[in-house]
């Protein structure tokens, strides 16, 4: 993605949301923009509609837990199929109450992706049609993908750690 494309995208964002961009960098072939957390959906809607950018395909979305920063990052990847451009938007949420407005208004595909992120990281998506756990058992209380929870399930009795020299 050449330089002028990057400027164009930054210009489009700054046109209506000046000061929202915290940092932009070029990671391999992905233009990554880190934004403030509260106006993410209007920005994505703006990128969706704007004739210069027209990012109308949500490739994927996931959460990332940074224990040392005490934050949960949300990563959205958008794709403009006509001009084959891909960008990645990142926002950082405090771990106490990670809440983000839902993206299902713009992309219906975000429905299950958000439910999965809620299931793994506990990020609350305001306005989501039915925000429930999708992959895990409903009665599960912890958010398993967070770093502080162990990988193995704790109720097993046969594989105690002495066997593995831990």
């Amino acid at each position: 993605m050449e330089l002028d494309d990057q400027e164009k995208i930054i210009a489009v964002i700054n046109e209506k949301f000046d000061g929202e961009i915290l940092q932009t960098e070029m990671l391999y072939d992905f233009f990554t923009i880190t934004l403030k957390k509260d106006r993410i959906v209007p920005i994505i809607r703006h990128l969706y509609d704007h004739p210069d950018t027209k990012f109308q395909y949500l490739t994927t979305m996931c959460g990332i837990h940074f224990p040392d920063l005490n934050q949960i990052a949300m990563m959205y990847q958008l794709h403009n199929m006509v001009s084959n451009l891909r960008i990645r938007l990142k926002i950082y949420l405090p771990i106490e109450n990670p809440t983000v407005p839902t993206l299902t208004t713009v992309f219906p595909a975000a429905n299950w992706m958000e439910r999965e992120t809620f299931d793994f990281y506990g990020v609350i998506f305001e306005g989501h049609p039915n925000l429930k756990r999708i992959l895990n058992v409903e009665e599960m209380t912890i958010f398993p993908l967070r770093k502080e929870y162990p990988l193995e399930d704790q109720v097993r009795e046969d594989k105690n750690d002495s066997m593995f020299g831990r």
Binding site: R88, F107, P108, A109, W112
Partner: protein, 403 residues
């Protein structure tokens, strides 16, 4: 009571409409996998479907955070187990992109050959299952026999039949044995004949066409809004294929067309897969003709296990060998996303490494998980038998659905 007005009408309006609930549940022969749909039915017609998934959720993403980089390959081929080599090589391409390893041309061509073989087997099983769901049971047995031939090719190359764990970061673990080439040539000669037979059985078959044409269709806009990718998107009319949009592993050297459907129904998906199998065959032939000479792995000993005689003779190889086997190789602190054209869509790996021995975060873009959301939309108002046909034509694989 007014005699002229028939009594039944009042009785009929008085009763509000009752629906029956059918459980297309986890253990159901028609779902070809483990997902559950509670169907709200009015007689035979489906009014509403509420899916429930996660019945074989195995926490791949958490598991990947505890394993060194070359030990994650066995996990990836348990995602879409119908075409395991594509997942493995997709993962290896991601790590090589992160490390910036330069892959020799020969390895890229070998990878293209085994990925196209895997694509053929994936489409084989899906088309055979569509045939089974419309009642043509014999098609499945013949198609599965072809899959056995490809299993034998996998055995020659990497020892395993289904979960192949093929290749390493940087190339293949050994040069492909002579027997593997023999079997590939035999497969290339035999398979088109059987594929032609299977097509004559089904393509212009009156029953098959009536059962599949404009059943479970989806428009291009709706497919894009639900982030479809792969065969289901191409059947809806959008010609997006990762091998052409973002060529990887020297796909740009080969000439192949992308079959595109019109109305996105089951018949289009079936035909797109049939044509893609033929395109894969032509890619394999081109790759075999233009196969360059050269090593079967890149010169990067700190990630690719050095050969044994080197390990015994010089010191660096011994250190590299020890670090790789103990999984202590440190990876620079970077973030990368790489996507591959999998059996049923764009299979992406979003990898963040924090310099340690295991990935900090690995998110897998699983095409099944994303496009299966549209299933309740697609079967609203259709008959029950069409709903089962739509599900098998979308090639939803449970392992990839709830990773």
């Amino acid at each position: 009571m007014d005699v002229k007005e028939p009594v039944t009408d009042q009785f009929y309006q008085a009763q509000e409409k009752q629906y029956s609930y059918l459980n297309l549940g986890p253990t159901h022969p028609a779902t070809h996998g483990i997902f559950q749909n509670v169907l709200k039915m009015d007689g035979e017609v489906i009014v509403e479907a509420t899916p429930t998934i996660g019945y074989i959720h195995r926490a791949f993403e958490k598991l990947a955070e505890r394993r060194p980089y070359n030990q994650i390959t066995p996990i990836t081929d348990r995602m879409n187990y119908c075409s395991a080599p594509i997942n493995n090589i997709g993962w290896h391409l991601t790590v090589e992109k992160l490390l910036g390893i330069e892959i020799p041309k020969r390895v890229q061509y070998l990878r293209v050959i085994i990925m196209e073989l895997a694509r053929i087997t994936d489409h084989l099983i899906c088309n055979a299952v569509i045939a089974v769901d419309t009642g043509a049971l014999t098609g499945f047995v013949y198609m599965f026999q072809q899959r056995e031939l490809v299993y034998e090719i996998y055995e020659e190359i990497c020892g395993a039949r289904l979960t192949s764990n093929v290749g390493r970061i940087g190339g293949f673990e050994r040069e492909w044995p002579e027997k593997a080439w023999e079997k590939i040539h035999k497969f290339l000669k035999e398979f088109p004949v059987v594929l032609k037979e299977f097509e004559n059985l089904l393509n212009r078959n009156r029953i098959f066409m009536d059962r599949t044409i404009n059943v479970g269709g989806i428009s291009a806009e709706m497919a894009l809004s639900y982030s479809f990718s792969g065969v289901n998107l191409r059947a809806a009319g959008v010609d997006y294929d990762v091998r052409v949009a973002k060529p990887y592993s020297s796909y740009e050297d080969f000439k192949f067309i992308i079959p595109v459907g019109k109305s996105g129904d089951v018949y289009d998906r079936f035909m797109v897969r049939q044509e893609e199998m033929r395109q894969s065959l032509s890619i394999i032939k081109q790759a075999i003709e233009k196969l360059p000479e050269g090593p079967h792995h890149a010169k990067v000993p700190e990630f690719y296990l050095p050969p044994k005689e080197e390990v015994y003779n010089n010191m660096e190889a011994l250190i590299y060998h020890f670090k790789i086997v103990m999984g202590e190789t440190d990876v620079p602190k970077r973030e990368v996303y790489h996507c591959v054209e999998g059996g049923n869509g764009e299979l992406g790996f979003y990898l963040i490494s924090d310099g340690g021995r295991t990935p900090f975060r690995l998110h897998m873009r699983r095409p099944c998980f994303i496009y299966y959301q549209a299933y309740p939309e697609m079967i609203k108002g259709s008959m029950l038998s069409d709903a089962i046909l739509t599900m098998s034509s979308m090639n939803v694989i449970a392992g990839e659905l709830d990773a």
